[in-house]
């Protein structure tokens, strides 16, 4: 822990002077300087410095309780930073009025809104609030924005239906369209994929990536789905032990930041494959001979069961494609057993 953590000042304006001197760079949408986040005066991070640029999808990852949501809420101005400052352009979200904030940043949360009789169009139209007059009158330019937001998430087919008849994924897409219609340069999403099934999760994150690139917005989302984050994010914010590591997913893998962050969490990160291994630490060793998907998935099953795959081990598995289908041969010296499924193989090896 940094010693500054303990002396972090609860006065939120303390960071202002330092930041004002810094000139924002081209394409910068949000910057944080000496930002300490936390609840009730208790800091959960050291002072953080980072910038968010337009046109990039950033995934904020970290273990539970690391402060992902707190950071997001602080950036959104919903929560006061303990010290330091986050600003978008010349605006400090926490001190701005909600109306000023709404023009700079839009927010999407996990939970599904449940409003009787509200249609997709009605929902997306709510995103136009910062731009409409006091009566909320929808003008021609509002209609264009609503229309193109719905188009951007490909929700035309069901935007006319009441929300209660739509699936979780469809509602979440419309929530994103609502945030798009707000036309703010920064989009903050807190676990937008938490309740969705895998195909929908991939779809939503790909969609956000496309939005960030095509519409040149800065998109920051928190997620528990590390695999998806590693594959889709332009940049990762990895928050662990009170500090924030940023970089391309590959950078964080190579610098072993990932391994450090998730060590002792019951998962081990494998830098070779970029995937997480679950279960017991691998103590037993085995050699795997074979190719294609059969090899990949057998390897995964072995890792789950507690084996490490190496080049030369006394225990060998041979994957053979026979006319009757795939067969797994387990060789121990001269002894050989044959199995017709990975399940049977694992039963024998346990």
């Amino acid at each position: 822990m940094d010693s500054r953590l303990l002396t972090a000042q609860p006065h939120h304006r303390s960071g202002h002077a330092g930041v004002a001197a810094r000139q924002p760079s081209e394409g910068e949408v949000l910057s944080a300087a000496d930002l300490v986040i936390g609840y009730k005066g208790k800091p959960i991070t050291q002072p953080l410095d980072f910038v968010l640029n337009q046109g990039e999808l950033v995934c904020l990852v970290g273990i539970n309780g690391a402060g992902k949501s707190t950071l997001l809420r602080t950036l959104a101005g919903m929560q006061r930073p303990l010290s330091g400052v986050a600003r978008t352009g010349d605006m400090v979200p926490y001190h701005a009025t909600p109306a000023e904030r709404a023009r700079r940043l839009s927010v999407v949360l996990t939970n599904r809104p449940d409003v009787a009789l509200l249609t997709g169009y009605g929902l997306v139209a709510l995103g136009r609030h910062p731009h409409t007059d006091w009566r909320g009158q929808i003008t021609a330019s509002d209609e264009v924005a609503i229309h193109s937001a719905i188009g951007a998430v490909s929700a035309e087919a069901y935007a006319g239906r009441p929300l209660s008849t739509l699936s979780d994924g469809q509602v979440q897409k419309l929530m994103i369209a609502r945030a798009l219609a707000q036309e703010a340069p920064l989009m903050l999403l807190d676990e937008p994929t938490a309740y969705l099934d895998l195909p929908r999760r991939v779809e939503i994150v790909q969609l956000l990536r496309r939005i960030a690139h095509e519409q040149q917005r800065a998109v920051l989302l928190t997620t528990h789905d590390l695999d998806l984050a590693l594959r889709t994010a332009d940049r990762l914010f990895l928050i662990a032990d009170g500090s924030l590591e940023t970089g391309a997913p590959e950078d964080l893998i190579l610098s072993q930041a990932f391994e450090r962050a998730f060590r002792s969490q019951g998962v081990a990160f494998d830098p070779a494959t970029g995937s997480f291994c679950f279960g017991d630490p691998a103590v037993k060793i085995v050699t795997l001979v074979g190719e294609g998907h059969a090899r990949d998935w057998t390897r995964r099953a072995l890792e789950r069961t507690g084996y490490r795959v190496i080049e030369e081990a006394p225990l060998r598995i041979l994957i053979a494609e026979t006319s009757a289908g795939t067969r797994w041969q387990l060789w121990q010296g001269e002894q050989c057993q044959e199995f017709d499924s990975i399940y049977a193989l694992m039963q024998a090896m346990r």
Binding site: R101, V115, Y121, E143, V144, L180, Q216
Partner: protein, 404 residues
């Protein structure tokens, strides 16, 4: 900011031109001054193969005017019936004559219409509109379909205010409100409004922790009990005439408001409704919850205070003058949603005012039991028709959460 528009500059221009040319068409209720173009040929310019035509946005966001026409006609019919029917039936043409300032065939008819039925009908409409709108405000604020002034115990709070004024100051002997004079009327309305405001503020403290509708009902019930305890104490030490007057007031009635008191009732109700109309836009944003409302630019704390103020004015004043009327506040918004089929407060606020007025008129009409000399207690009538609505809402919610 401009990123979304930069990609499609042509579209923006075309659309502006199209909408501008249609703006002049008097195709919509002047109330909303809608700029939505109807499904005209010009809009199809915007229709591109990959997108639905812009007109599909309009048709979904547009407020249908048909329900308002129906409501207005129904209201007019009930208003005339409320003047015509009662212990004595008065012919329609005679009512028209009286309303136009003429003299009816019988002097007693003029007297009945002008002194009793007309103020009663106007009171009923004002009170109904006020209760309906405060019910809608509560349902949106608490995001709970069961929230309403009576369910939450808000008119109990108002009752306590009234009881404090009447039972302790000693003003007003026979009828609760009779002979208080202007200052007394105003004081009563103010006391009731303050009682109502305090109750809403109190419940709002609990609301953070309340997720289910049933819990909110229980909180409302308990708040009602607490205020009733206060009222009981006051009654216990009061004189029998005032106790009787308080009990009569508690049955609810639209008949006791005099022409002299009507301007007070009308102006406070108008102020409350005006507040609700000003809040239409943030109320819509509040549909998604306070976090989202704030994220699209709503000053949530300010909005909450305004909602409390409007509800307190509406419920408090009505309770002071007409007694704690039950069930109109909860039934009107639900019926109204069924009629306008929209969650948009631009449609709901005016429609709820209409439906509330309608329900109140219908209730007093039934309470008068036309053709007999009887007058039933108003709250008995509203409960008889309102309680099933509440049950229906609860059952429907249960089913929805069971399936969802």
């Amino acid at each position: 900011m401009s990123c979304a528009q930069e990609g499609k500059p042509v579209k923006v221009r075309r659309c502006r031109a199209t909408v501008g040319s249609l703006r002049s068409k008097p195709d919509y209720l002047p109330r909303f001054r809608s700029v939505y173009p109807s499904q005209k040929r010009e809009t199809s310019v915007l229709a591109q193969p990959t997108h639905p035509p812009i007109s599909s946005v309009h048709s979904h966001l547009r407020i249908r005017r048909m329900p308002f026409v129906v409501l207005l006609i129904a209201l007019a019919v009930l208003f005339v019936l409320a003047l015509a029917l009662g212990s004595v039936s008065i012919p329609l043409d005679q009512i028209v004559t009286v309303l136009l300032g003429g003299e009816a065939e019988r002097a007693s008819w003029t007297n009945i219409v002008m002194q009793f039925r007309l103020p009663r009908a106007i009171t009923a409409m004002l009170a109904g509109a006020a209760l309906g709108v405060s019910g809608l405000l509560m349902q949106t604020l608490f995001r709970n379909p069961l929230a309403a002034p009576d369910v939450l115990g808000i008119n109990s709070g108002a009752s306590l205010g009234v009881a404090l004024v009447v039972l302790t100051t000693g003003v007003g002997s026979g009828a609760l409100l009779a002979g208080l004079g202007l200052a007394g009327d105003l004081g009563m309305a103010a006391a009731a409004s303050i009682g109502a405001a305090l109750t809403v503020a109190l419940i709002l403290q609990f609301a953070q922790h309340i997720r289910s509708g049933a819990t909110l009902l229980i909180v409302g019930l308990m708040v009602g009990q607490i205020t009733f305890a206060g009222v009981s104490l006051l009654l216990y030490f009061s004189i029998p005439e005032r106790i009787q007057a308080y009990i009569n007031w508690g049955f609810g009635s639209f008949s006791s408001v005099t022409w002299a008191q009507l301007p007070i009732l009308a102006s406070t109700v108008a102020a409350g409704l005006a507040l609700a109309l000003v809040m239409i836009k943030p109320l819509n944003a509040l549909l998604l919850g306070e976090v989202y409302a704030e994220s699209v630019g709503v000053h949530v704390r300010r909005l909450r205070i305004t909602i409390i103020a409007a509800t307190a004015l509406l419920t408090g004043t009505v309770t002071a003058f007409c007694g704690p009327i039950s069930f109109i506040g909860i039934a009107a918004p639900h019926l109204c949603r069924g009629i306008v089929r929209s969650a948009d407060h631009r449609a709901l606020v005016p429609a709820v005012a209409f439906v509330g007025a309608l329900l109140a008129l219908a209730a007093t009409l039934i309470a008068e039991a036309p053709g007999t000399a009887l007058t039933l207690p108003l709250n008995a009538v509203t409960a008889l028709f309102g309680a099933p609505v509440v049950l229906l809402v609860i059952i429907r919610n249960q089913e929805r959460s069971a399936h969802g």
